[in-house]
Symmetry: C2
Subunit: 364 residues, 2 copies
DNA sequence: ATTATAAATGCAACCGGTTGCATTGTCAAG
DNA sequence: CTTGACAATGCAACCGGTTGCATTTATAAT
């Protein structure tokens, strides 16, 4: 493998001249340029070694990200693929690459992140919001480093991290809107099926849910608030956890992601309950999949790819210019109304009472 | 940011000693080790700069991949996420990271790949099979480099590249099996809805399809062979392209991915044709989504994550040891029988004839 | 006490670029 | 003919590690 010194020797110039020819940023006589290029051609020299270059200029044109839980079903949901897509689009347009690492546990997310930063392989870092305590620790750890990072998600508002860069969706407001949408359809008993209760987003959404009900003077029923594993089966199980409520059972379900909403559809189908005639269901994310099930899911579209694009833009900007740019960005979501929601039925749904509680086996 | 020289000065040892302490691969007296560690602690030195390290040892512990078509809907399908997942699992277990770059066109895939390799930022490279001509060019270009690579997919059999590393699914055989499965259900008019005809996998599957029919002495009807865009709408359009065949119309559809199969389900539903009572449909990939639609899709599970794991293993092995390992690996697929297939109906399906050919508008 | 042996550490070259500054060469103005 | 200005290139230090070999020191064997 040839180096610029080899090329220099062949072209009878100094290595620095070769470097300048390839950088294109210095004035080099046309004749020398040609000599260098043809020498490079001869030797099969394609481009300066990026590693050596990075060492010298202290830039890698790479942004890093750690994927949580590589061994779990983290890729089933459309969340991560959408994030990756958004990051990649911006990165590609700015001539950046993405260095992806894995992790195995919440603690490991931080370990891996620190290792990636400490190794100086990346110019900036994207952190994906996780459990609240992990986020706090992660931010604290990253702030002790000098690599810029932007978070997709945020820390609890109370937190005084005004210097933090983040982009998030307005989960609270969006959830409030979709709950209002259900209220407008006449629903009064609306179940909230959240995801991981340790995550901020789950609390934000719960806030949106509770505020909207409160404003409408609808008493909150804790039996309608449930948390499930972020997967199809999570939603499915949740229905079975609520179906013993008799006349207090929900006439509508809000699920914190589309997979769970799809699980809810399955459970209801199994119970012989018609959607949307008897019960309405809404999902969250607006994954492609939500449009493919039957009935097509009414869902809260969360523009994850767009958020990731913004995050990458902010990051790259703060890498390239010292003066940090706009620190935060809140994007809004959008209700995609489809076929899983309808006017509440005057006859409340009848959930069969089942002596068989096998379904509860794998509850959260 | 402190370096090993700073640490060395503080600990009153030579930089090489610090290097050895951190590498852990040399005998260092316990006392010196402690002195070095505490000096490092003091200075906030966390680990040796990986860039400098890479430059010196000529290894980055990174494998590269270029994502095709970042601006298209490449992430809608479960293919790429599954690949990423598999790569990441193996990489994580072997302390490797993945450098991901984007690309914009077929030609650009090669450009970007060469740029990534030429920059020496990666120790090995994963190439995703694409159009046949692109694959050929890509392989030729990569073989001219000295970085090992493994392909997910393969080149046409005739090709004498026995030294190539690849892992692929046995698409031909798998397709043959699922067609045989349909034949066993009594279907005789089976439509083949392939993906991009320029891709080898499409030809492999078509071979499986044709061979199986031929062996069963069923005449091939070219009108039942169609190619569509690898998305939900592709499958949907395809049905409308065939529904004018009257009594020659298919009683079963084979689709080359689940998204297209889902589109086929939608078209049939729209036409008032019952699945599986009147027409059977099978998909390919075994994406999570295939199990969520109604009727749940019978599909050919292709273990993309597993293939990616194998690919990463082969790659890492050939990075770490000079003697190249097993060169090729063919994994098998599996039929997941669900609810979209049934015994052929004695009454052939009646596809409504529609004067309205609006649906054909966006044909391939 | 002497010498052979091994353990611990230092030395210096090397990995492959970049870049501020110095030097040389060229041309035009004075 | 001298001088100044500028273009083109060379020089050498630097980026931050690693590692084969030499040197010093401690330990054991004779």
């Amino acid at each position: 493998m040839s180096t610029i010194r080899d090329v220099a020797a062949a072209a009878q110039v100094h290595p620095s001249t070769v470097s300048r020819v390839f950088s294109g940023k210095a004035r080099i006589s046309e004749e020398t340029r040609q000599r260098v290029f043809s020498a490079a051609e001869q030797l099969g020299f394609q481009q300066p070694n990026a590693i050596a270059r990075s060492l010298s200029i202290q830039r890698t044109n790479t942004i890093g990200i750690i994927v949580p839980h590589v061994f779990d079903g983290y890729f089933e949901d459309s969340f991560f693929p959408q994030i990756m897509r958004g990051l990649l689009q911006t990165a590609y347009s700015s001539q950046f690459r993405i260095l992806v690492g894995g992790s195995n546990s919440h603690q490991d997310e931080i370990t891996q992140a620190l290792e990636m930063l400490g190794s100086h392989q990346v110019d900036g870092f994207i952190v994906l919001s996780s459990h609240l305590d992990v986020d706090e620790a992660m931010v604290a750890a990253l702030q002790a480093q000098d690599t810029p990072f932007v978070m997709i998600g945020q820390l609890p508002a109370a937190n005084t991290h005004t210097d933090l860069l983040w982009v998030d969706a307005d989960h609270e407001k969006a959830t409030a809107q979709i709950i209002a949408y259900l209220l407008a359809l006449g629903h009064r008993r609306i179940a909230y099926v959240g995801g991981d209760p340790e995550m901020l987003v789950t609390k934000q959404r719960l806030n949106g849910y509770q505020q909207t009900l409160r404003r409408a003077n609808i008493p909150l029923d804790p039996r309608l608030i449930d948390y499930a594993y972020f997967a199809e089966d999570g939603g499915y199980q949740s229905v079975y956890r609520m179906c013993h409520l008799g006349s207090d059972a929900p006439t509508a379900f809000y699920a914190a992601n589309d997979l769970m909403a799809i699980g809810i559809l399955r459970a209801l189908r199994e119970l012989g309950i018609q959607v949307p005639e008897q019960v309405s269901v809404v999902g969250t994310n607006g994954s492609p999949e939500s449009g493919h099930v039957i009935p097509a899911l009414t869902t809260l579209y969360v523009p994850y790819a767009e958020m990731a694009r913004h995050a990458a833009e902010m990051l790259i900007q703060s890498i390239q210019e010292e003066g940090s740019p706009i620190g935060q960005r809140l994007v809004s979501c959008e209700i995609i109304a489809r076929d899983s929601t309808a006017q509440v039925n005057i006859h409340p749904p009848i959930y069969p009472t089942l002596g068989d509680s096998a379904h509860l086996a794998h509850s959260i």
